[in-house]
Every structure is written in structure tokens, then in C-alpha cells.
């Protein structure tokens, strides 16, 4: 299967470790770059692609609202992955002996996902697309312009970080959205490096716009809506692979009505044990990050939904309990994630990796709605660790 070679979703994890001792090698055994502490990012250049790394993605999720209380969720992800030897360390590209054409390269392949949820009907549509690097899929290196077929994500204003996102799901749904950052860019991890495993090469640069004002149009079938709402965008750069002992991960991003945002990540080990690289990070109204380690938060499953098509059960009702930096040293907050529709699975027809990526509402202990979230659940259709 294509899947075997395209295990993409090595989600960048932001491990909290003692950064002072962290001295990773410059390259992986394959020759790809390894994220180095203290890297100085230069924008807009660093919003673009980094071909010296093996894996990279731009991951946008968001909630949209239209008139008549209509509510939607959307996801747009652009991945790039270099082949063995790839373009490691340099920008001179090994296109392989057959790849004489710059338009049909064989150094990288690009995968993309688009999904749209209509909350009122619970209808969830998605499409997956895989292309080689070339005329129909690529990401620029001097700034952000990613495209895959007729889907694209382009930074339209380098100063403000505003972007335009165009996506569609076959001919069933289409959107064109303007994204404007409401908070400065966040760099997760220690000293610019987010570690995700014990291996020193298993790390990423993890850059995020946690709150993007979103305005645009969304077409579903024959209906077109003027929509507004809020999005989250991750840009993660790495060359690393998942630890063979890890089965998968659960990830969530929360945007609270009080202006704070939260990113949480739970690494699941095959043996069921806790993984020290799990983490939770608060982003306050001004964009300052407070990270807590695996010991300082809990991720509890409170409900499971079995997907009718794949038969996979996803624990998509979650209770997060964490210390609240805004409420003093002993303040603890309880956050419940409740899916806006039970079945938001992407079947992985091309990548071979089914996963659940869905819009949720956030409830407090009194079940009051206090924000919106996206929840990602991977590795439930078979362990991912060791496959890549």
C-alpha cells in the first residue's frame, strides 16, 4: 500500500525536558537536518518550506458561523515529505535519474487533506490528495505559498501574517477564507525545539498561530454561506520518527471565550503506560506560553464512538484537568471536549492511516460552553509506532 511509505502523521510533540543539556546531532542518519536549539527564525521566510528537513506540515483547523445559527467545522492540511536522501542538508535537489523534469520531481511527495463539517446535519465530507513535488503541488521556500491541485494556502501580508486559504471537497464543498492572526506567532517547546521522544533527533520546530480571525465564503452543495469564525494553524518542521514503543497520540487545541488558548497532547504507549513527552500549554491573551509536563495534567476519556464505516472506536469525548496559571498556583480547571458530530473520521484511503480530526465544543465543569476546540485521535486503527 501507499500507506507504508507515506506515514505522515508523526505529530510534532512538544516534550518538556531539561533543555540546558540538549545537544542534538546536526543531521539524522539519513542526512536530514535535526532541529537545533536556539534557532533564530526569520519571517516570512520561515513560514515557507524547509527542504533540508524530511517532514513538514501546515495544519489549519477552525470553526465557522453563518446566519441562522449555522455552524461549520473545517480542516485544511498541507504536508510535504522528502524521500530517502531527499534534498537533505542542501537545496540542490536529487530528483533521481528519471526526474529530469522540474515539473515532475521525485525528491518529495505532498499530501493534503480537506474536511468540512456541517454541524446542523452532522454531515462530514473530506478529501485526500497525494502529489509528487512539481507543477501541481509544492511549497515555496521564501515565504508561505503551499498548493496541492486546486487547494492552496498563501500568506498575503508578511507583516500581519494574514493568509488566504482555498479548499474544496470534490464538488460537494468549497471554501475561500481570509485568516488574520489575532495573537503573535507562538513557538512551542524549549528554546525553539519541541522534543517528542527520548531520541535526540526526535524533535521539531513547532510554530503556531493559535487564534486567526477567519472571514470568507463556504459552499456546501448548492448553498453558499458568508462565514466568519476562528482558526488555529500549526506549522511543524522535523525529520524525526515516532518511537517504536508509541502506539499513537491524542491532540487537542482549544480556543476559550475568555481569550486564552490551550494546546494539549497525550502520547500513548503500546504498553498502555504514560509517556513523559505528553504536554499541555496555555497561551494567554497576549500570546505568552505556559507549558506544563505530563505529570501536571490529565486526559480522561469519557465517551467513545464507533465509526460506522471503518468500525474503529474513537475515544472522542475527553475531560482535561489541568492547573490554571490564571487562577493561582493551586487553581485547577476542568475542560470537557464534546464533539459537534460523532463521526469525523478521515479514512486514509491514500495515506493508509485513518484518523479522527473533529470539531468540538468546550464545556466547563458546570457544562457551560466556554470555547471551541479541535480534537485529533490517531493510532486507533492499528498502532503507528514502528511503522515509521
Amino acid at each position: 500500500m501507499v500507506a507504508a511509505v507515506l506515514l505522515w502523521l508523526a505529530c510534532g510533540v512538544c516534550g518538556v525536558t531539561n533543555a540546558a543539556e540538549f545537544r542534538p546531532p546536526l543531521t539524522t542518519a539519513e542526512g536530514f537536518a535535526v532541529p537545533q536549539p536556539g534557532r533564530r527564525f526569520e519571517f516570512p521566510r520561515d513560514h515557507g518550506a524547509h527542504p533540508e528537513f524530511k517532514l513538514e506540515w501546515w495544519y489549519v483547523t477552525g470553526h465557522l458561523f453563518a446566519a441562522d445559527e449555522r455552524r461549520f467545522g473545517f480542516q485544511a492540511t498541507f504536508f510535504r515529505r522528502a524521500g530517502p536522501g531527499g534534498s537533505a542538508g542542501t537545496n540542490t535537489v536529487d530528483t533521481g535519474p528519471g526526474g529530469n523534469s522540474p515539473w515532475f520531481r521525485s525528491d518529495e511527495v505532498h499530501l493534503a487533506h480537506i474536511a468540512v463539517l456541517d454541524v446542523r446535519t452532522g454531515k462530514f465530507v473530506f478529501q485526500e490528495r497525494l502529489n509528487r513535488r512539481g507543477w501541481d503541488a509544492d511549497v515555496t521556500t521564501n515565504g508561505l505559498h503551499a498548493w496541492n491541485g486546486n487547494w492552496s494556502l498563501r500568506m498575503t501580508n508578511a507583516a500581519s501574517g494574514a493568509m488566504e486559504l482555498i479548499g474544496s471537497v470534490r464538488a460537494e464543498a468549497a471554501f475561500r477564507l481570509a485568516l488574520t492572526p489575532e495573537k503573535p506567532l507562538v513557538v512551542f517547546g524549549e528554546n525553539g525545539v519541541s522534543r517528542k521522544g527520548a531520541s535526540p533527533t526526535a524533535a521539531s520546530h513547532y510554530l503556531t498561530f493559535t487564534r486567526l480571525k477567519t472571514v470568507g465564503t463556504l459552499r456546501l452543495g448548492a448553498e453558499t454561506f458568508a462565514v466568519h469564525g476562528r482558526s488555529w494553524m500549526d506549522h511543524e518542521i522535523s525529520s524525526s520518527q515516532l518511537d517504536p514503543g508509541q502506539a499513537g497520540w491524542d491532540w487537542a487545541c482549544l480556543q476559550l471565550h475568555d481569550g486564552r488558548d490551550l494546546m494539549a497532547y497525550r502520547m500513548r504507549r503500546k504498553d498502555g503506560g504514560p509517556d513523559p513527552f505528553s504536554t499541555l500549554a496555555w497561551v494567554d491573551v497576549g500570546g505568552r506560553v505556559t507549558q506544563v509536563g505530563a505529570a501536571q495534567f490529565s486526559w480522561q476519556t469519557v465517551g467513545t464512538a464507533r465509526h460506522p464505516r471503518s468500525g474503529v472506536s474513537y475515544p472522542n469525548r475527553v475531560k482535561l484537568t489541568a492547573s490554571d496559571p490564571a487562577g493561582g498556583p493551586d487553581a485547577v480547571v476542568e475542560l470537557q471536549l464534546e464533539p459537534l458530530a460523532p463521526h469525523q473520521e478521515l479514512d486514509g484511503g491514500l495515506s493508509g492511516i485513518p484518523y479522527w480530526e473533529g470539531a468540538c465544543r468546550v464545556l466547563d465543569a458546570q457544562r457551560r460552553e466556554i470555547g471551541a476546540a479541535f480534537l485529533e485521535l490517531t493510532g486507533y486503527a492499528g498502532a503507528l509506532g514502528g511503522r515509521f
Binding site: V2, G99, N100, L130, N131, W135, G149, I166, R170, A171
Partner: protein, 879 residues
Amino acid sequence: MSTTATASNRALAGLLLRRFTLRHWRSAPGQSALLVLILALGIAVFFSIRLANRAAVASFQNFTDLITRESDWIITAPAGLLRETILPELRERLGEQPVSIIPVLDTTASPPRRADFEEIGSRPTFQILGLDLVAVQNLASARSPDRSWFGQASGVDSFWRLLRSPRAVFVNAALAAREGLTVGSKLPLVINERVVELEVAGIIPQPPGDPAAPVTLLIMDLAALQPLAGKLGRLDRIEFLVEPGPDDAARRAHLREQLAAWGDGRWFVSSPADRRENAALMTRAFRMNLTILSLIALLVGVYLIFQALDGAVVRRREEIAILRSLGVEERAIQRAWLVEAALVGVVGGLLGALLGWAGAQFSVRFVGRTVNALYYATSVQSAHLDRAELAAALALAVAGSLVAGWVPARDAARTPPAQVLVRHAVAAPGRRVFRNGWLGLALLAAGALLAALPPWRFPGGRLPLAGYAAALCWIFGGGIVAAILLRPSARLWQPLGARWVSVKLAASQLVNPSGRHRLAVAGLLCAVAMTAGMATLVASFEATMQGWIERTFQADLYISSYGAQSASTQNRIAPATWRAVTNHPGVAGFNGVQACEILLNGQRTILASGNLDFLQRHTRMAWRQAPLSDDIFRPERNAALALASEAFTERFQLRRGDVVTVPTPAGPQRLTIAGVFSDYGNERGTLVVERGRWTEWFGDEYLSSVILVLRPGFAPESVRAELLGRHPGLNIFTNGHIRGEVLRVFRQTFAITYALELIGVVVAVLGLALTLVSVLLDRRNELTTLRALGLDWHEMARATAWEGSLVALCGVGGGLVVSVALGWLLIFVINQQTFGWTLSFRLPWAQLGALAALVVGAAAGVSYAVGWWGAALPADREE
């Protein structure tokens, strides 16, 4: 009419059928079988040609249909190839529209050489399709759960190894089974002029239920095929798939408009249906010609059914009279006869369809080969039974026999009851038509007028309809005139009767010939005239070709890619190779030829280039209109000039001095036609320009062939061997060999027309036998008398043999005369209007003599056999 009356009518019809029609069939099964067989043969020929034609046209496909669903639109360059740089442009222009853009490259390849000399066209041609193997997986229908492009090889990084392999190829499952290919097997092929060892990466994925890919289809990654095919940075076509969903029809239509507008002359837009139609159109004249030829046997067959039914009416006259006197209505009798005719039609039609279907399995190869040689690549190997064609053939059979049965049925119905009393009624009054000399002459004159009319032009081609009508007029008119001449020619034989009683008997029959005799003459004339006319055309063509070959093929060596086998193969010679070849010390001069299809005024034609000064120095061109100055041969002066083939000028109705604007990748170019030359290579026409101009326009130095003239002292054979040793992917012909090959390919193209004509002759001779059978049945009382007078069986058989031979002589004589006219018509009207080739007239005396001897001899033999049978007829046999 009341219900009872209808019921009784039905009962009567059934009774008539059983007691009247079928009884006769049972009593003379041989005769009925012969009749059915004649019709069946006619239908079989028609049906087999139709099926073969259909198969040849159906085999034209885009191949990508097999991988994706059928594309909505396809863009191709008006000349040459598309540049791949238009891909990002197209995506950008399309913006967010959900449209898949599928770039496609294709080329042809052949298995490597096995013997030193091989016939052109004797090796299989593989079609290699280059697709972006990663991108095609996004198309839903390309996904097959059990087999994917990348999943067939195993091992770490197999995906990347396949994606980066310059030689990975996917093959059809049937080819893999036949050649024992598995993943990793080597598949050596000649692509362009190089022997390339491809590596099997797997089987072409095929979703269950989809049609199987042709055995000759190979698929490679587009990026790997580009350098192999010598098409770096180029694409043959780009296909577009509009995402299905709301408003998809409107979005498709909109996309076509957008593509057309954005192209601005750089490309043109077509649909897969347009392309199939274009392929069908391209071969339309060729297929129509074959269909018309295939109808000859049927035409002769219809003649004979008419004759047989007419004879039966006469023989059963007494019975009819009895039925009439019993009160059976005229209409019921007429209906009974028509039912009989229809029965012959149905049985003959079904048998013919069966024979035709079997025959199609053979004829399809001939048709396919010709289409391959002249038009486009086909992979047709078998013809499928097509319901519409079957219905058409059966309808034709029934309609033909009903038409043939109409007049006899009317005569039968009108038989007055009193006839029964007349013991010696005129046995066969004969059709008045065949005694009307004026009608015959009028038809001949009408034919002459029709022959002067221009062809019918339709978009994409032209068809000599008036020419065919003229041929029909001459065949009918000639038949009538020859039938009338039967009597005077019989008189000529009468003096011989003094010495041989058999001649006397035969001549006495023919001095007062029956309608059946006349019909037999006309039928034989039709078959012989067509066959001899065709032979005249072929002989004239061959003579012309030989003269053309003598003049045109003057050089020493003719070099092409080993894969180049016909008009449809794309294999060419890379610049490094042809430079090495032409730098051989023995080379005194060379002509580097390139050609590609272009679209001119919506019609496909060929733009070629060569070293024009070479033409003047080393060949004697066969001019239709010679250039008025030497400018065309001087590279420094011929930039705006071109030479046109006769077919080109005929097709586009141009002549020397006219200006033609041709599309090129460098934009449209205005060219003045400096001269018109004879060319029998293709009917689509060729425009030739100086090679330097071509290179400038197309940015492409590959050559389709190289023609060498050697210095004195260098033997062509040894230079050939030396070059082949260095470049095994080349095909090199010496002068003598290429001349032979050209003639062989030419003859092969005409093989099927010969076969069709010969079947017509067989039908005509069978018809003569049937005629004589009827005649003898009519005369059985006379035969009894003759036996009583002491004539032995041999003499009686001989008398019939003479009778048959005289009829045959008349038919053959008339046929040969008409054939000269038909030959003229075929050469100067039909061929000229269909292909645009001027030929010189030559009569193939030996062939015509042999044909005449064969027909008369066969007629004599068949008649003798019938006579022998007739001599044994009992006198009182009821019929």
C-alpha cells in the same frame, strides 16, 4: 375485415406456406440450399467487412480511459507537442475550480531485432503511455483495492525506488502471463533508435469490471518516459476531468470555453468522443470503399434470387392457376410468394451472418493492418458480433430478397387461371427490362454524366459518390446490353451446330434466350466487370508505383528507427545517432526527414521537412507541377516556400503558387507552394519544408528517417553492416530492399479488395449453375424427347455445358468491356477523388485473360455437371 375473416386468412396463409412453398423446398432441397447459400455468401462478405471496419474504428482509444474514467476534455498542440510549462499556467488559470489536470505522454516501441531482414510491420508495436503515477492515484476510479501502482513491489522504500526508477514499466496481465513477466523481469524494447531494457514494476491495476487494457499497452511514469521518448519537457496531450457533482454539465461546458479561450492558437480542445469521431472520419473513405465493394457479391446474389423466384413462378404456374381457380385471392398468392422470398432472406441472412462473423476474424487483420499502416495505431485482433450490424445485415438480406421477389410475386398473382389450359405457354417471357436496349444505353449515358461530377465533400474528407453511382449505371446498363447481345452471339455459333449436335442444341436455346439466361449474363457481367476493373486499377497503381519508386528511391541507404513500422509509430532517431551516421566517411550526402501531424483548417495533414537541396541533387522528383525556379532547393532562399504532395493539393484545393498558413509551435507560418509532387505514401497529404526551418519552429532535432548517398567505392551492404553493428536500434534498408518492401506493403493493402472481388465471381458462377438448373427443369419434357431420340447423357451434358459456356462468354465478354470503363472510372475518378493520387492507366492483359478463362472454364464445368444431372430428370416430375 372481420375477425373470422382474418383468422381464415391466416389459416390460408399457413396452408399455402406448408402445402405450396415448403413442399417445393422439400422436393428440391439442393436448389433451395444453393439459393440460400448464394444469398448467405453475399451477406457474409458484407457482414464481415462491416464487423472488421467497426473493430478497426473501435480500437482507437485514448488508453487513459482504462486508468481513469473517460476525460471530459483533451488539449493537444495544433502541430507537434505541448510544452509542460503550460501545466502550472493551466492550474493557476483554473484557480479553485475542482478539475483534475492529467498530463499524458505516449510513444511506441518494438521488441528488439531477431533476424537480419524483417518485413515492415511484422513485429508487434507496443504503445507506451506516460502518466504521473503518483497523481493518477487521486482519481477515485484509478484506485483498486487489490492492486495499486506502488504496492506491487516489496521492500523498504519500494515507493521511492519505483518513483525514481528510469526504467520501471507496468504491463498488461495477459502480456505478463504470455511472456512470463513478474515484478523485476527485464523487458528489452526498441524506443526511438535505442535498445532499452525496461524493468517490470507490476501489472497495470485494473478495477474489477473495467475493460482489459490491450496486450500491447505499457505504462511508465511520465517523468521516466520523457527522456526515453526524446520528449524532454514535452507532452502529447493534457486531459481534464471535471469533478462530478452539482452543475457538472455547466462546469464542463464552461471549462471547454475557458480552455479554448486560453489556448489562443497554442492548443485546441477536443473531447474523447471528438477524437474517436476524428479517427472514424479519417478512415471513413477507406471503410466506405470496402463496404461498397463488399456489396457487389450481395448485388449479384439479389440478381440471382430474383432469377430463381422468377423461374419458380414459371414452373409452378399450373399450380397457381389451380389455386386461383379454387378462389384463392391474388393478394394471398402474392403474399405467399413474398413470404417465400422473406424466408430465403432470413435463412440466407442468418447463415451469412454466421459465415461473415467467422470471416471477420480474418478480414479484421487486413483492415487493421491497413488502418495501422495508413492512419493510426490499432491493436485490433478480433471482431465482435455487433447487434446493430447484425440487424443491418439481416434487414439487408430480407429487403434484398423481398425486392428480388416482388416482381415474380406480382406475376404469380396475376397468372390467369386459363394459363393452365395452355400446354405450350412461353416458358419464360423474361423481364422486359432486360430486353429494353434503350434503357441499357440510357444507363450507360447516365453513367458517363455521373462520372464527370465532383466528389461529395464532408467535414474531414471526401467521397466519390457520383463515381460509385456511375459504376452502378454502367454495370446495369452493360448487363442489359450484353443480355440483348446474347441472341446475335448465339447466331454466330449456329453454323458450328452442323458438326456438333450439342452446340446446335445449345445455340438453339440461346437464339431465343429466356429471361433467366439474360439475367445470368447480367450477373456474370457484374462480377467480371468489377473484378477486372479492380484488377485494372491495381495493375495501373502498381505500374505507377514502380515508376515512382524507380525515380524517387535513388539513394543508397534508407535509415529509420528499428521501431518505425508504419504511419502510426512514433519512433525517431536522436540527434547524436543520426549525426554519427551521417558523419561516416562513406557518406556523400544525406536527407534528414522529419514529419508530424498538424491540424490545418480542421483537417489532419502532415508537415514534413528534409534537406531540399538533396532532392534536387540525388532524386528525380515525380512532379505534378514542377517548381518554376530553383529557389525551393536553396536553403538560403526557400524560407517561405514549401512543396506539396498531390493529395495535399487535392484535399485542400490548392495549387502551385497558393499560400498556405500552417500552425507550428513558433506560431503560424505562411508558406507558398512552390511545386506539387506525386506521392503514394498517404492520402492525407504532405507539405514539405526545409529542415532548418523545422528545427527553428519545433526546437526538435530528432529525425524520422535519414537517407544516405554513398561515395564511390563504398558498398551499401558493407556500410549498412557497419552502421548496424554500431547502432543496433536502427533499421537500415538498401535501395533494392526498400523498393521491394514498398511494393509488398502496397500489395498487402490491396489483398482484401481482391478477396472481395473473387467472392463476387464465385457467387456469379454459382448463379449460373442455378440458372441452368431452372432452365433444364423447364425443359424436362424436351429432355425426355431428346433421350428418346437417342442422345446419350454425355451429349446432353455437353449441350448444357455449351449453353452455360455461351452465356458465360457473353457475360465475360461484356464484363471485360465494361471493366475497361470501370477501370478508367476507378483510376481517374474514384481513386483520384478519394486519395488524390494520379495514376497512369495500364490493362493487366494476362490477369484479365486468366480471369476470363477461369470464369468460362468454371461455367463450362458447372454447366456440364448440371447437364449431367438434368439428363437424369424424370419426365413426369412435378415441379
